[in-house]
Amino acid sequence: MKNLSALIAGLVFGLGLVISGMADPAKVQNFLDVFGTWDPSLAFVMGGAIAVTLPGFRLVAQRGRPLFDERFRLPSRSDLDAPLLGGAALFGIGWGLGGFCPGPALTALPLAAPGTLIFVPAMFIGMWLAKNVPMMTRPSPGV
């Protein structure tokens, strides 16, 4: 059942990315280009998503546990550290340069644009480096 719910959640997520325009790098970069061809649409994506998750998470938390698991797996840290800031800063630079973040890039993969076919493997290499190269891995394993 967890596999089925994950498949449906992934499909709904991907459809949301496609319908919202978030899977189109040009639209993402135009959202970020306030001094150029600005397209504020993506503020509505974030707004629409949070308008659902804010009450939705509260609602499901009231049940005490998820339907198909014993407990919610939530990050518990609240401290701010250098890896969080550094990682987010690098992530933002890459997001701006390519117009892709992980979800939209994977969603756009079947459309097989040359840029996407380069971006996705590079993204997985970056993830692998952050997990496996000792000099590059986070000092503390946190969530």
Partner: protein, 144 residues
């Protein structure tokens, strides 16, 4: 290149993303953080059952554009840069940064903000800021 302002479609699409995150939390107890789900596939052992839902989630993501094209009768609009070295660098930065910073637009931006996480708020403000700066430099200083 200019794109059309689509507040209604973007709002509906955003709400679907939110619905997906609530489904994953309510049923499986997991955060819909794409970088976390995707990167955990890298250390999943073949045949391990713990990360299998992650594989199915990514499978759902990959099905979305074909399903949309089938229902809509046309492929989704997208413009991806053909500057392949730039996209390789962008991919490396996005992959590395999202694992190092424990999240991306979905995990920190959509789920973390809704959980009122201070780490996610700071991460979201940070990547929004560097993304604005990198697009500004790319388009108005270097020239894209």
């Amino acid at each position: 290149m200019a794109t059309e302002f689509t507040p209604f479609a973007s709002l509906i699409g955003g709400m679907l993303i939110g619905v997906s995150a609530v489904i994953l939390m309510g049923l499986n107890g997991r955060i819909a953080g794409i970088s976390g789900i995707a990167s955990r596939l890298l250390d999943a052992r073949l045949g391990g059952s713990e990360e299998r839902p992650g594989l199915f989630f990514i499978g759902g993501l990959l099905l979305a554009a074909p399903v949309y094209a089938f229902v809509n009768g046309a492929l989704p609009t997208q413009t991806v840069s053909n500057n392949l070295p730039l996209l390789a660098i962008a991919g490396l930065l996005v992959g590395f940064g999202s694992v190092f910073g424990n999240g991306c637009t979905s995990g920190h931006g959509v789920c973390g903000l809704a959980r009122l996480s201070s780490r996610s708020l700071v991460a979201t403000l940070t990547f929004m800021a560097t993304a604005f700066v990198s697009v500004y430099l790319l388009r108005h200083v270097i020239g894209g």
